[in-house]
Symmetry: C2
Subunit: 432 residues, 2 copies
C-alpha cells in the first residue's frame, strides 16, 4: 500500500512574518501523521489572492492526496482564500443555500441585521461540500481536484479543530484507510549535547530499516523522536517494533533519558517528590521567577510545591532568605556560599523538605573576568543534605536563564532519584 | 520602480511538525521587508531531497527576485539541501577549493582527522559563490538562476545570522537598491479586544491608500503593525507618512496604546517606576512566578525590581506575606481581601514603594460555581494607595496565567501614570 502525501497551507501576513505561530499547521500535521500520511511541506502565504492561488496551484500540481488550507475565510477585505481556491481549481464560487440559511438564522437569533457581503461566508467552489462552523459563521469546505482532496478551514484554532474533528477526520479516515500504520514516540534527554545524543541514537536506529529518528534541542534538553513504519497493515507490528526500539534507546542513554512523550522535568520531579512525601520551595536570583513559573506550569502541582522567593536584590536575600551580610560582602551574591545559604534559607522560610536555589549572571551586563556572564550556581537541598554546583552557560540572557532552570530541575531529579550529579561540584557545602 | 519579491524556505522535519520554530525565516523576513521586499511566502520542507527540490523548482518557476533557503547543509545523512538545489537549478555540485582548504585547516588546528565525506561541506552548485561560515565548517552559497538570486545558508540561527549580515546583505542591498522604500512600525495596545482595536484602526488606515495595518493578539495585548510604502524613491516621504499615521492612531487608541515597537508593558512600567524613584515587589499566587519572570526578562531591571514572593500554599501566604489565618478562612485564598493583604505584605516584607499581587484560579481544576476557573484578583499598591480589581478570564491555564500577568502590569502602569483603571473594582480596600 502506497504512503499518502499531504501539503499543509496557512494563510496570513502575521504567519509569514512570524508574529503568530501556525498552531493549526502543527495540529493538522500531527493528526495526519497519526493517519500514516507523509507531510510534504508546510506553506505560509500572505493575505494576497494571487500568491495564495499561485502557491495552491503549484501544490496541487504535485498531486498530493490531501491539501489542507487554513485561514482567510472571514469577511475582512484581506480574507482571500475562497477566491484563491476558486482560481487554483478553476471552479467558480457558488453560494451554499443551506449554509446561507444557517448564517441568516444566527443573525436573526442575535437580533442583528445581516452585514453586507455576508453571502461570501456561505460560498464554496462549485462541486465542493460545505463544512458548517459550529462556533462562528464562516463555513469551510472540501473540494475534489484531480486526485487531491482539498480542505479549507477557518484560521481560528478552536473553530478549525472542532470542524476538523467533526467533519474532516471521518472523511480522511475513509480515504486513507488501509495505509501502513506509523507509530511515533519521543524520549526526553537532559545533560547531554545534541551531538552526543546523536551518536548514541544513530547506532541504535540504523539497525532498524523502517525506523527514523530526529533530534531537537531546546534550552539544555534534547527530544529524540522516533517513528516506526510497519511493513504491512499491521498496527501491532509497528507498536512492538517501536517499544523494542524505545527500550534499547533508554538503555543506551542511561540516566540522561528522564522521560517520554508528554513528560517534563517538572512532572518527573513532582512524581519523585510525591514518592518521598516532600514539598519543594525555590529561591531564585538570576532565574527571577522562571523556575517557579516552570514548576507552576504543571496543573495540580500545589500538593508538592509550596512557593518561591525571588530575591533579586541583596536586601531581599538578607531579609527573606537570611543570607548574612558577611557572606554577601566577602563572597558576593553570585557565589557558591550565597547559593548554599539561599538553599537553607528557602528550606527554613518556606518550611519545605526540598529546595532549589539559583544565583548567577544572566547578562547581557554585569559580568567580569572573575565572574563572567553565564556563570550560574545551582544549589539543591533534600533530607540527604545540600549540594552546590557551578555551571558556565553560553547564549543570551533568555537562553542562560532557561538553561539554568533545566539544570536546576535535573539536579534535584538526580538527588531525589539517587543518580550521579552533573556540573562542577563546589566546596561551599563544607563551609556554609 | 517595481517591488522586489522574495520566497523563504526552511528545511527540517522538526520545522514541518512544529517542534522547532523557524527563527531564521522570521529573521530573514524582517530584514528583507526592511529592504522593501514583498515576501511571497514561507515554505517549510521535510529533510527529503525530492521534496526540497520539487518545492524549490516550483518556487523558482514563479521568478522571485530572491529565494533564501536555510538548513540541511551539514554532514548528516538527512542534510540534503545542496543536492536539492543542484537538482532544482540543473547545476552539478562542485567542490570549492578555497572552502575545502579552510575546512581542512580547521581540523588540523583541532588536531583531528578529516571526517569521511567532509568534501560535501565545501560543495556548491557550479557557477555559484561560496559563503564561508565564520563559526562552524558548513559553508553556504549563492547561485544565480534565471532572474532569481538563490541563497543557501546553514540552519543554526547564529551561523545564519552572521553569514547573512556579512556576505548576503551587501549583495542584496546592491541588487535591490532603488526600490520603493517601505517603513513599518508597531503600536502596542492593552485592554481592548482585537475587534475593538480593528474598528478604530481601520477607520484611520483606510484613508491612506499606501498604508496597511495588521493586528496580532497575544495574551491580552494587541500589536498594530503599520506599513507605509512611498509613492516613489523617497525615504523621507515614507517616514513622514508613517509618523503622521502613528500619531493619528495613538490619539484614537488613547490610554490603551501604551508603547511602540520594542516597548513592552514591563519596560514602560520600569520607566514609570524610575521616574517616581520607586522600587517594585510582587506577591504571586495563581501566576506562580510568571509575573516575576516577565519583569526579570528585561535586562537591567534590578534597579527598580526588588523581588517577589510566590506564595503558592496558604502557609506561605501567612508566613511570608502576613496574610491572617482569619482572612484565609473567612474569605478564602482567592478573594479581594486576601489579594489586598498580599499587596500590603509584599510592600512591607520586600521593603518596596510599589507592589502587585495576584490570586486566582488558573485551572484546569479547582473551580467552583462561586469561584470559577478564570477568576483572578489583581492588587496594586503605590504611595497613592492600594486597589484591588476582579477579572474573569477565559482560556486554558497558560492563557489565564499570561493574561493575568498582562492585566496586573497594565493596572500598575495606569496607577503610576494617573490613567483610569480597568477591571471591576472591588471593595476590599475599604475593609482590608
Amino acid at each position: 500500500m502506497r504512503t499518502p502525501h499531504a501539503l499543509i497551507f496557512a494563510v496570513g501576513d502575521e504567519l509569514v512574518d512570524g508574529r503568530r505561530l501556525d498552531a493549526n499547521g502543527r495540529y493538522v500535521t500531527h493528526v495526519l501523521e497519526s493517519l500514516g500520511c507523509e507531510i510534504d511541506g508546510r506553506l505560509l502565504t500572505p493575505d494576497r489572492e494571487d500568491r495564495i492561488a499561485a502557491m495552491l496551484a503549484a501544490g496541487l500540481a504535485g498531486g498530493p492526496d490531501v491539501l489542507i488550507v487554513s485561514g482567510g475565510l472571514g469577511l475582512a477585505e484581506d480574507d482571500r482564500t475562497r477566491d484563491a481556491v476558486a482560481r487554483a481549481t478553476g471552479r467558480p464560487l457558488v453560494v451554499d443555500a443551506a449554509v446561507r440559511e444557517k448564517i441568516a438564522g444566527r443573525y436573526r437569533d442575535w437580533g442583528r441585521e445581516l452585514p453586507a457581503g455576508v453571502d461570501r461566508l456561505a460560498m464554496i467552489p462549485e462541486g465542493g461540500r460545505a463544512i458548517p462552523n459550529p462556533i462562528a459563521v464562516a463555513c469551510g469546505f472540501t473540494v475534489e481536484h484531480e486526485r487531491t482532496l482539498l480542505v479549507a478551514l477557518p484560521g481560528v484554532p478552536r473553530q478549525l479543530k472542532a470542524m476538523f474533528e467533526r467533519a474532516v477526520l471521518p472523511v480522511l479516515r475513509d480515504r486513507l484507510s488501509g495505509t501502513w500504520p506509523v507509530r511515533t514516540a519521543a524520549i526526553r534527554v537532559v545533560g547531554l549535547a545534541e551531538s552526543e545524543v546523536d551518536g548514541l541514537v544513530r547506532d541504535v536506529v540504523r539497525r532498524q530499516p523502517q525506523a527514523r529518528a530526529s533530534l531537537m534541542t531546546t534550552a539544555g534538553e534534547v527530544e529524540v523522536r522516533v517513528g516506526v513504519r510497519a511493513e504491512a497493515e499491521d498496527e501491532d507490528e509497528a507498536e512492538a517494533t517501536l517499544e523494542r526500539l524505545l527500550a534499547e534507546l533508554s538503555a543506551t542513554l542511561g540516566p540522561h533519558a528522564y522521560g517520554r512523550d508528554r513528560d517534563s522535568l517538572v512532572s518527573v520531579v513532582a512524581g519523585l517528590l510525591r514518592d518521598r512525601r516532600l514539598t519543594l520551595g525555590v529561591a531564585e536570583s538570576c532565574t527571577g521567577g522562571l523556575l517557579a513559573r516552570a514548576i507552576t506550569d504543571l496543573p495540580g502541582v500545589s500538593d508538592v510545591f509550596a512557593g518561591g522567593i525571588v530575591a533579586y536584590g541583596n536586601a531581599q536575600k538578607r531579609t527573606l532568605l537570611d543570607v548574612s551580610d558577611e557572606l554577601l560582602e566577602t563572597c558576593g551574591a553570585v557565589s557558591a556560599e550565597v547559593c548554599l545559604a539561599m538553599v537553607r534559607g528557602a528550606m527554613r522560610r518556606l518550611e519545605v523538605g526540598a529546595a532549589i536555589a539559583t544565583t548567577g549572571i544572566a547578562g547581557p551586563g554585569g559580568g567580569s573576568a572573575d565572574k563572567p556572564v553565564g556563570l550560574v550556581y545551582v544549589g539543591t537541598g533534600t533530607p540527604d543534605g545540600e549540594r552546590v554546583t557551578r555551571h558556565l552557560l553560553t547564549g543570551d540572557r533568555e537562553a542562560i536563564r532557561r538553561w539554568a532552570v533545566k539544570i536546576s530541575l535535573d539536579r534535584l531529579r538526580r538527588e531525589l532519584a539517587g543518580l550521579p550529579a552533573t556540573g562542577e561540584p563546589v566546596e561551599a557545602g563544607a563551609r556554609g
